[in-house]
């Protein structure tokens, strides 16, 4: 099922790249493009062949585990200096995963705790103020949240740096320090969704007869929620967490740009703008795989935490 989805995704991406006007030569040369030079580019990159042939070549290579090389830097003066898509994507993907896990490390426990506690004290002043704060944070565009954080934590008080430009040699401690602001921004952006979902899932269950029974048997509200409601709420919570994790990997271009963080989002945007098809395809495959994997994990959690689903009816 997953493989079929990947195949469909690759076809969609490839054909939509074909639909975009212009090609790599024109994009690289911009205003300076002449027919001669663009034609030389097309010959060099094999863009003069029909689309179906190029897709076939790409697919055969991918099935053998070869993502190909970027269009950029090929065959300059007889020496091929283009880089493998894998070499381009890997360090960027590592950076993105690092930022995503930093954000997730803050965001997931925070939203679970907030979600459970607001369910516990629902409709109290506490519940309302938490809901208001998180919903406010999610309502602002990401770059605005980012600029506000930069203003207060970097410009006015210089607690954290405003540039998160890490490279392969950056030490772990330094890395954590540099990504603090982007991670915080992402946390603010995703907490509301997960926290509201947790709260809703638990409150939804609180109306069920078995919770009534637990209450009648004398269990405390905390006990009711942690022991009786939560286990049944894991499936929807896991789904929404998976969704937000996937977002952290594939959708943080804006945050990357504001903090100058070398993540995979910027790589894909550049590649699309320059029509660097092999890189676009590589990124798209990784993004699709991230979604499929995370959803799979969420499904597994849903099944494992709900023993009824383990047995056929």
């Amino acid at each position: 099922m997953g493989v079929a989805t990947l195949f469909a995704v690759s076809i969609i991406i490839f054909s939509s790249m074909e639909l975009l006007p212009g090609d790599f030569g024109q994009a690289i040369l911009g205003q300076a493009a002449t027919e001669d030079t663009v034609a030389a580019f097309r010959r060099e990159l094999g863009l003069d062949q029909p689309a179906i042939v190029r897709y076939g070549q790409w697919l055969t290579a991918v099935l053998q585990g070869d993502l190909g090389t970027s269009f950029s830097g090929r065959n300059a003066s007889g020496v091929d200096r283009s880089r493998e898509v894998v070499d381009l994507v890997a360090p960027r993907l590592r950076n993105t995963l690092f930022l995503a896990s930093m954000a997730a490390l803050f965001a997931i426990p925070l939203s679970l705790v907030l979600g459970i506690s607001t369910a516990l004290y629902r409709n109290s002043v506490y519940d309302r103020s938490i809901s208001m704060t998180t919903l406010t944070a999610i309502s602002f565009p990401e770059f605005f949240v980012a600029y506000i954080l930069i203003l207060f934590l970097s410009s006015l008080s210089s607690v954290f740096p405003s540039l998160a430009n890490v490279d392969a040699d950056t030490q772990f401690g330094e890395r954590v320090y540099r990504v603090a602001l982007p991670a915080l921004t992402l946390t603010l952006v995703i907490v509301a969704h997960m926290m509201r979902m947790t709260r809703a899932a638990i409150i939804n269950l609180l109306a069920s007869p078995y919770i009534q029974m637990a209450r009648l048997s004398g269990a405390s509200p905390t006990e009711v929620i942690l022991k009786h409601a939560l286990p049944n709420a894991w499936a929807p919570i896991a789904t929404v967490i998976a969704f937000n994790l996937a977002y952290l990997v594939v959708g943080v271009v804006v945050v990357e740009v504001v903090f100058v963080y070398p993540g995979i989002g910027q790589l894909m945007v550049d590649a699309v703008a320059r029509r660097d098809i092999p890189v676009v395809q590589g990124c798209a495959l990784i993004f699709a795989m991230t979604y499929i994997l995370l959803n799979l994990i969420a499904d597994i959690i849903g099944i494992v935490t709900n023993p009824r689903l383990l047995y056929p009816k």
Binding site: L20, L29, Q31, E35, V79, S154, L163, N165, L267, D270
Partner: protein
């Protein structure tokens, strides 16, 4: 004469710390000058002496993951600045705007058709190889020939052959005479690299590449064997691509970087208030244009073109689109920074009566479409709206068509499907280069298709004549007339010359005059600036 040159050399050495004050005094006194004179000479040299050292970090508004170290496909300001750090060219446009020899020691021609370049001797590439004519020929060949994908290919089509005369001399034979040829080889694409290795970032420049991560950053270290006197003062350099203007400005204010290009004009007044920030502004050759294609109806009509040229409030565009950081244009592409700018030509102003008169004479009626997109230049759509507004005062109806940024240069600009659009030109250091890039009948980028009219025929022959002309006065006359022809009959509306506005921390010092050919001191700030 000899002593003067000697003294200048000694002053340079003193300024760079090659010799000390005592050594300078002794050597210059030996030429027969009096002690007080020599003392003041020493003071002068030391006052201007740039300091050596420090880590220079620069935030650059461009940079893409598809960037390479091959100068042939250098396409944005990041690759441009980057290329100038580790590479040199045969000639260079200096900070005062003159053409000076760089890797060539001198160049000469008697007929402007056969150019002899004498190479500087003993210059080493970063890999230790000594630069010879073989490397120069290979570097030039990289941009020539059918299979070249170089953006500079069009510049060198007139080169018939490049031959070596020994190890230190290269001879260019051109198809036809070109008095400005030495300017052509200063183009940022035509970097001199070791033969057989055009793309790995090995050059002869003041900095040696340590690491290059496309679209992220470049790290460089000073070249201890740099041949050029009085340049490359920083020990280490980091060029960081920071595309977001707010992020770039914040980084400079917080001290995370020492300099940046392309200040956001909308916030410049707030930005200027920061005590750490220094703004550098210079009007160069870059300009915004609105080319009308003569081969597309209704722009073939002289009166219609005149009507539109008179219906633009140029100063309003400078004030609103450039927020004052620029100058008005006079419908030709030659700026005051060029050598032969025609200052006698009366400035064209908004004139509703003249516009209405020409419009009526053209007999055209109905809407005229103007295509624009911010890919042409920041604020192009707003500028088009302002033009539509002022034209309506003269009774001319203009419909602004907003085009997608993506693919603008291939689908809108220089395309017969669109008769009139917004465009940007970085400008060129010489008149001939600018004209042959966009206005002569043999260039592919003739975005106005200005070819058939009597004026354009005259223009083409004048450009050819001026190209082969070595006399300065004669060239001035010819270029003055060229500008007048474009301004009146040409298809391009050139309302604005935009300034380059960059910023640096107050700790940075620059030469008194900075170059006007590109942003950030001719894109050579890395080798020209220093920490005060």
């Amino acid at each position: 004469m000899m002593t003067k040159i000697f003294i200048e050399q000694q002053q340079k050495k003193l300024a760079n710390g090659v010799i000390d004050r005592r050594h300078f005094m002794m050597s210059v006194l030996a030429t027969g000058l009096a002690v007080p004179t020599v003392l003041s000479l020493a003071d002068k040299a030391e006052a201007a002496a740039p300091n050596r050292g420090g880590l220079f970090r620069m935030g650059i508004a461009h940079g893409s993951t598809t960037d390479t170290l091959d100068s042939a496909t250098s396409e944005n300001h990041f690759t441009l600045i980057n290329g100038y750090t580790f590479g040199n060219h045969l000639t260079e446009v200096s900070n005062t705007g003159e053409l000076i020899p760089e890797l060539a020691e001198s160049y000469e021609s008697s007929d402007a058709q056969r150019w002899v370049f004498n190479l500087r001797q003993g210059v080493e590439f970063h890999n230790g190889k000594t630069m010879t004519s073989e490397d120069v020929i290979a570097s030039l060949a990289h941009h020539m020939g059918e299979d070249s994908t170089s953006a500079a290919k069009g510049l060198l089509t007139a080169v018939k052959s490049v031959t070596a005369d020994g190890k230190n001399r290269v001879i260019f034979d051109l198809e036809s005479a070109n008095a400005d040829f030495p300017y052509i080889v200063s183009d940022y694409h035509i970097s001199i690299r070791p033969a057989g290795d055009m793309a790995s970032g090995i050059g002869t420049g003041g900095y040696i590449l340590q690491s290059f991560e496309p679209g992220v950053k470049t790290v460089l270290q000073r070249n201890p064997n740099y041949w050029k006197d009085g340049r490359a003062h920083f020990d280490e350099v980091e060029l960081i691509s920071i595309i977001d203007p707010t992020a770039r400005q914040t980084a400079l204010m917080n001290g995370d970087i020492d300099a940046m290009d392309r200040v956001d004009l909308k916030t410049i007044n707030l930005f200027k208030r920061n005590p750490n920030v220094n703004i550098l502004e210079i009007t160069g050759t870059a300009h915004y244009t609105f080319p009308m294609r003569l081969n597309v109806d209704p722009f073939g009509d002289y009166d219609l073109r005149m009507a539109l040229k008179h219906s633009i409030k140029r100063q309003e565009l400078v004030d609103k689109i450039l927020l004052g950081y620029g100058a008005v244009g006079n419908d030709h592409p030659i700026s005051t920074a060029n050598r032969y700018h025609n200052s006698d030509l009366p400035q064209r102003e908004f004139d509703a009566d003249k516009a209405a008169h020409h419009y009526k004479k053209s007999g055209h009626s109905g809407k005229i479409q103007l295509s624009a997109s911010d890919a042409a230049f920041a604020g192009a759509v707003d500028a088009a709206q302002l033009i539509a507004n002022s034209a309506s005062e003269a009774g001319i109806e203009i419909e602004v068509v907003r085009e997608p940024n993506d693919g603008y240069w291939s689908n809108v600009w220089n395309n017969d499907a669109k008769g009139w659009c917004a465009c940007y030109w970085g400008g060129r250091p010489t008149e001939d280069w600018m004209f042959s890039a966009a206005y002569t009948n043999d260039t592919e980028w003739n975005d106005t298709a200005w070819k058939g009219t009597d004026s354009s025929k005259k223009f083409n022959s004048l450009v050819k004549e001026a190209r082969a002309e070595l006399s300065d006065t004669k060239r001035r006359e010819l270029y003055y007339e060229c500008q007048s022809l474009i301004s009146d009959d040409g298809g391009s509306i050139v309302p604005l010359f935009n300034s380059f506005v960059s910023a640096n921390s107050k700790a940075i010092s620059t030469d008194k005059q900075i170059a006007a050919n590109w942003d950030s001191d001719g894109a050579k700030c890395v080798e020209r600036w220093w920490f005060a």
